[in-house]
């Protein structure tokens, strides 16, 4: 390239400063979001992996069955490094006045276990002989403000046994404190983990160890080994087998991180696509307006390659200026995000690394997007036919009635000036199409984020208000007769109570297994509603079980099929599938009490009660009254759970919220550009109108009307494409734990459309101000331009 060409490039960019800034900024954002999200993702995965290795996080856990034999079998596998036998029991705990359904896990006295080692935060690991000293899991300790030397009670048989807190510990199994995979959300008032001596644990269960935790030599998971051990475990009567990947806490965290990975790809792609399209539109216009210059270059002996390279420069410059700082900021931001995240979740190990590949990939993404955008216009430029390009600008498009007028003949009667507005839209299709693209992109950017927020809020309401109708759940210390549940209604403030029996279950069909929770509900339950996958609400069927829809694909089953369900005690029932339900959270199994009793051939107890409150009751008071009942282990207010869930979503809301703000800013930039260019391109036309004596005010009015008309034309298409993009963004989050279906509020569509129109209107101001300043002689003289 020749030096003056560089200068031309730089001055052209300076001339179109707002557009180039907008494009550069969009690239910057896209690249920065990619760098930040992707590196955070990589860091977090590394942190989890490192944590898993350092704390020897079990690769496989096998509960139930012949523990000794299972452990021996596992130990004989050369791929297995360590096997730990332990006792795990869900047991009522009491801290001060609060009763909760906790979990006691045995750890060897004196030495850390070989699998699932603990990080002692304060206090010390229990020494030999300290049978009554326990370690409290970090989340529980901080919720109840427990420190070494404090005490709490564990229900053993019918008596509350006093134990001393010896220390506070972090466990790789409870980084996210969840009871099990189906109950990822538990309030700290309702769930807590204590690590106890084997002696104490066996007192609680009244029997020997019931769980085998296995750690592989490789440290990583190994599907073949897991499959072999699981098969043998099942053979030996194990009831609940899960791999590290399926383990509740790990599952919740990887789900969360997976979401980050999806967003790390999806959002940057969206921003880069928007930047690319905006750049394409702008450069196409630039090339079009510079056709005579390009002709001059070619006539003077510039090669087509030189022209191509020159116009690619218009993409490379914003690409470089946007992506290099973007990548750096992103990678730096990733460190902060990782630290914040691991801090919030108290992950014992934080790995913050510098990944040159992310930096390079981010820059390459930004550059590729901008180069691709510049390629088509640059090719057009290099193919200009000089003789034609230099004949001088001939007005394009003829005088034609607009489509609008043809569709609505009455429009032909409006004053000529307004007809000019309609015809302007069709007369310059290039300008119209570019503006519409701007509007569509804007709506897409806004609707994807807004759609995610709408959907999540809708799903929360659906799960916690429409599907789960109970006001609170009362957990009992052990199996309880249904009559005792019914008696709860006598308590002041409770309007109704239904017995529920929840147990872990392994569902098997077609050689596949799915482990979940089975809940036995009252036949005519009012506490849970069932949303049929085919639409509509259904009653709990009197024959067969109701399953979460994810099992349909996981087990390859359909309505009417028979499935095998193995419950904790090792008993197997074989019900038919009566229906699949669409539930946003989890994939559960439900069955009516009468049918369940028919299947098992015995009367079934309850493990909990679903209750509803009387009008205006004070939940806190009720909680105290109920937990005073000896049989009651815990009380969980649905509202508290709902609030907890909202808090769990904070990270998501924050991320998507930031995206919405960015998207909004980009939308503004896009429309602002389209509009200001629309006006700038018409300087000559405006000067001519002024020269023949048209009032500046009326010219402004026609131009505004034309621009607004075009913007409005883009809105329907933008709403459709935005909705599709939001759907695509959502589908990546779906799993058996979360079922997201796009739900965008009508008001969202309305506000988004109004916002676009408002931005379009505001964007007229600078251009119209320029019209007021137009000097007719100046424009007429600029024949060379």
């Amino acid at each position: 390239m020749v030096k003056p060409l560089h200068r031309k490039l730089i001055r052209d960019i300076a001339r179109h400063k707002p557009q180039f800034i907008a494009i550069t900024l969009t690239i910057f954002l896209g690249v920065a979001i990619f760098g930040a999200a992707f590196d955070s993702y990589t860091n977090l995965v590394a942190s989890y992996d490192q944590t898993a290795v350092n704390y020897r996080f079990a690769n496989l856990t096998i509960a139930g069955g012949d523990t000794e034999t299972i452990a021996a079998f596992a130990g004989s596998d050369p791929a297995v490094e360590s096997v730990e036998i332990r006792t795990t029991a869900d047991v009522p705990l009491r801290v001060d006045d609060t009763k909760l359904l906790g979990r006691a896990i045995s750890v060897p006295a004196g030495d850390q276990p070989m699998v699932n080692q603990l990080e002692i935060m304060t206090g010390s690991y229990p020494a030999n002989g300290d049978a009554n000293v326990v370690l409290v899991e970090d989340h529980m300790a901080s919720h109840f403000d427990l420190a070494p030397g404090d005490s709490l009670d564990i229900l053993i048989g019918d008596t509350w046994q006093h134990v001393t807190v010896g220390g506070v510990a972090l466990s790789p199994e409870y980084i996210w404190p969840a009871r099990n995979r189906q109950e990822l959300l538990t309030t700290p008032d309702n769930f807590g983990v204590v690590f106890v001596s084997e002696e104490l644990a066996e007192q609680i269960t009244g029997e020997g160890p019931n769980e085998v935790a296995v750690y592989y030599a490789a440290g990583e998971s190994d599907e073949e080994v897991s499959a072999a051990l699981s098969a043998e475990g099942r053979e030996l009567g194990a009831t609940n087998i899960y791999t590290r990947e399926e383990q509740a806490s790990n599952n919740a965290l990887t789900e969360d991180v997976k979401g980050l990975e999806e967003m790390a790809i999806f959002f940057p792609m969206m921003f880069l696509a928007a930047a690319g399209l905006a750049a394409y539109v702008m450069l196409s216009r630039l090339v079009h307006s510079q056709r005579p210059h390009i002709g001059t270059f070619l006539a003077n002996g510039f090669t087509r390659r030189q022209v191509l390279v020159h116009y690619l420069g218009y993409g490379i410059v914003p690409g470089l200026i946007g992506s290099i700082p973007g990548a750096i900021v992103g990678v730096l931001l990733a460190r902060t995000i990782t630290r914040l995240y691991t801090g919030i979740l108290s992950i014992p190990l934080t790995v913050v690394d510098f990944y040159p590949t992310t930096l390079i990939a981010a820059i390459v993404f930004g550059l590729v997007a901008s180069l691709l955008a510049a390629l088509a216009p640059a090719l057009v430029a290099s193919r200009v036919v000089p003789a034609e390009a230099m004949r001088g600008e001939t007005p394009s498009g003829g005088g034609r009635r607009s489509l609008l007028e043809r569709v609505f003949p009455p429009l032909r009667k409006v004053p000529a000036a307004w007809r000019m507005t309609f015809r302007g839209v069709g007369r310059n299709p290039r300008r119209t199409i570019y503006t519409i693209i701007g509007v569509v992109l804007s709506l897409m950017l806004v609707l994807v984020s807004w759609g995610l927020i709408d959907t999540t809020r809708h799903l929360m309401d659906r799960q916690f208000i429409e599907i789960q109708r109970e006001d609170a759940t009362v957990y009992f210390a052990g199996p309880t007769a249904t009559e005792d549940v019914a008696a709860l209604v006598d308590i002041d403030g409770i309007s109704s109570a239904e017995p529920a029996l929840t147990m872990p279950v392994a569902i098997s069909a077609n050689e596949a297994h799915y482990e979940t929770a089975l809940t036995v509900l009252q036949d005519d339950t009012e506490m849970h509603r069932f949303a049929n996958v085919d639409g509509g609400w259904i009653d709990l069927p009197s024959n067969g079980v109701v399953l979460g829809q994810a099992t349909r694909d996981l087990l390859d089953i359909k309505v009417g099929d028979t499935v095998a369900m193995t419950v904790a005690e090792g008993d197997t029932i074989r019900p038919i599938v009566a229906a699949f339900v669409d539930e946003p959270l989890g994939t559960m199994a439900y069955v009516g009490r009468a049918h369940a009793e028919a299947l098992t051939g015995s009367a079934l107890p309850a493990t909990s009660a679903l209750i509803s409150y009387d009008e205006g009751v004070d939940a806190k008071v009720l909680r105290n009254t109920i937990t005073d009942i000896p049989r009651v282990a815990a009380f969980e207010d649905a509202q508290v759970l709902f609030d907890l869930m909202q808090r769990f979503m904070v990270l998501f809301y924050a991320f998507v919220g930031v995206m919405l703000v960015f998207g909004g800013a980009m939308a503004f930039a896009l429309i602002f550009n389209a509009m200001s260019v629309n006006i700038a391109e018409r300087t000559r036309e405006v000067a001519t109108l002024l020269a023949v004596g048209t009032e500046r005010r009326s010219i402004s009015r026609y131009i505004t009307a034309e621009n607004m008309l075009v913007a409005a034309m883009g809105i329907p298409l933008g709403l459709i494409i935005g909705t599709l993009a939001a759907g695509a963004a959502l589908s990546s989050f779906n799993s058996d734990l979360f079922t997201f279906k796009l739900h965008i509020q009508p008001t969202t569509y309305l506000f988004a459309s109004l916002a676009i129109l408002a931005v379009a209107l505001i964007s007229q101001i600078p251009g119209l101000r320029a019209i007021r300043r137009i000097s007719i002689p100046q424009v007429v003289k600029e024949r060379s331009a």
Binding site: V2, R11, G295, A299, G301, F302, R304, K781, R783
Partner: protein
């Protein structure tokens, strides 16, 4: 360089709407000949220059420059031909609005010389714009812009100079000055010049005067005693 056209046609469009911008042109210009081309608007003057400058190709016929048929040149050879042999002064000056007068000329000078900026300044001086070099096109009058365009064509010292109404925007004095410059430079460098004009008086300084009408040469007059441009009056 000699220019030789035989049986050249240029047709735009097809069928009913076809426009024959040039019809069966036979023309030979020896090296160093200064030719003015006259003719009403739409008679094909610009088209003729475009063909000689190889920014457009003939529909039929042959154009030979220095004995080489332009139709036989590859894309790269055509670029080289334009770069080294042709200087254009366009009817619409086509200056780059974001480059100064000097830079507009330098842009082209750099293509063939290593000291482009110096040469550009020199030529601008010769067209009387020594004090306007750092101005942008929008800051120049129409005539000044036209002189920048002429400087841009002259800076390469091309053997062939194609000027499309180079004095259209100029007052009498400046016009005569520019024509004088063109005459002297072309004599100095023995350039073959084709100069389109609506001003018949300019024919007096040319070696030859062509008249076009509807794409045909209707008059071809040789002038054995061209006068100096400084003596022109109109």
């Amino acid at each position: 360089m000699t220019i030789k056209m035989t049986g050249v046609w240029k047709t735009f469009g097809e069928g009913h709407t076809a426009v024959h911008a040039l019809q069966n042109i036979d023309l030979a210009n020896p090296q160093g000949e200064f030719t003015t081309i006259l003719g009403p608007s739409g008679s094909g003057k610009t088209t003729l220059l475009n063909l000689v400058g190889a920014i457009d190709d003939a529909t039929e016929g042959h154009i030979e420059v220095a004995g080489v048929d332009l139709a036989g040149l590859s894309v790269d050879e055509l670029v080289k031909y334009r770069r080294e042999n042709v200087g254009f002064v366009f009817q619409f000056f086509n200056l780059i609005p974001t480059l100064t007068a000097l830079e507009n000329v330098e842009l082209v000078a750099d293509l063939t010389a290593s000291n482009g900026a110096e040469r550009a300044a020199e030529v601008l001086d010769r067209v009387g714009l020594g004090d306007r070099m750092t101005h942008f096109p929008a800051q120049l009058s129409g005539g000044e812009q036209q002189r920048v365009a002429i400087a841009r064509a002259l800076v390469k010292e091309p053997p062939i100079l194609l000027c499309d109404e180079p004095t259209g925007e100029l007052d009498f004095e400046t016009g005569r000055m520019v024509l004088d410059l063109l005459q002297r430079v072309s004599r100095e460098l023995s350039q073959t010049v084709l100069l389109v004009t609506h001003n018949a008086a300019i024919g007096d300084m040319a070696d030859r005067v062509l008249k076009l009408r509807s794409g045909e040469i209707v008059e071809d007059v040789h002038n054995d005693t061209p006068i100096d441009a400084t003596e022109l009056t109109w």
